[in-house]
Subunit: 221 residues, 2 copies
Amino acid sequence: MAATVRRKPKGAYHHPDLEGALTAAAVRTIRERGVDALTLRDIGAQLGVSRTAIYRHFKDKSALLAQVALEGFRMFRHALTSAADEARARAADPIEEMGVAYVGFALENQSHYRTMFGDAFECAEEYPGLAAEGGAAFDVLLGAITEEQAVSGIGAGFDPLELAHIFWAGVHGIATLAMAGQLGPGGKGKPEQLCRLQARILRAGLRAGLNPAPGTASDAR
Amino acid sequence: MAATVRRKPKGAYHHPDLEGALTAAAVRTIRERGVDALTLRDIGAQLGVSRTAIYRHFKDKSALLAQVALEGFRMFRHALTSAADEARARAADPIEEMGVAYVGFALENQSHYRTMFGDAFECAEEYPGLAAEGGAAFDVLLGAITEEQAVSGIGAGFDPLELAHIFWAGVHGIATLAMAGQLGPGGKGKPEQLCRLQARILRAGLRAGLNPAPGTASDAR
DNA sequence: ACCTGAACACCGTTCAAGT
DNA sequence: ACCTGAACACCGTTCAAGT
């Protein structure tokens, strides 16, 4: 760590860490003016740097966005992990608390979240680190579910991967709808409340088990 | 209906219904090459029309996208309504079938769905018709939930609006994650299966009722 | 009325040139 | 090594001009 001291080159740098400054400026711009307003020229101007200087640090604009997404996934995974750990420490439901942390992260870091699950998400194969970090974040949720199955037996008869997908879809849906202002004017408290309610209904449903719906036609086997 | 016969003007029209052709071309382009590839110049070229001809029919590019979204919401509401009606006719769960129809619509009409819940969704206040159509589609879901509360008593103790938000978030989450290819390589059958499982777990949870989670700390009152 | 072509103010990206 | 300025091929949008 302390062994590698970056020797400052002779040329005058505008920024000691231009790469970090570029991603930070990107995050700030997205937050303040939206993704569409993100312009390499504007970022360069913000940093007092030529508009082509970015190409020294990133292959192109989407690589910069991928870096924002990667940074987001790292923060994201940490938020989920510590929420689950803290819940376990006070004997709360780790899955419910992870859901609250999920939605809270999305709402507090909308720039990162939008970038994580926006265009960069679609073409993740170009940035293998992205898919890996996203998978690691998902594994935190998957781990909590398998643990719950083993410890309390809740949902033990279900495929944990399917349960994880359902929980993910639920919190992702709440987060995106809340960001779009579709969950009413409740403000920030509403999404968390909704998130808790969702987790508890799902938990109760898993505990109770599924009796076949009254008129299920196609999938009796 | 048949009373208003549009008299063809003397000037030579490239398209009898340029407005409809423009939105159709937009939908097709989004489906085939993504929203970012949607270009007024390209659409004009596709239709053999000047790239500024569109301004005779739409205020700007976002108005064209709003039209695509509006068209999408109308088809969407119809799909939801008929799914619920059909479910009632054969005594199936209307909510589960609406969820399947929701996800199915999203996957079969990704151009429309992405536009409906994309940028146009954010600035819906500029296009009041959009918000109205979106609200009408949501009301189909809300109505099915209040009906279920009244008829079968399931979830009767809950705020129907909160339940509707939770169901919406669930199916919206499944739809968007499926579109992003995040629900595994299962193909088209997987999202529907997940959707049914989610609806049944939620239903079972509402039927069973919520006993307080083991270590709920903050919200005892 | 409807459409066109040129023009304007923007983009991302490339590249030879500077230090 | 790192950064710059000019240049290129694109955008959306405006507007005077055509029929």
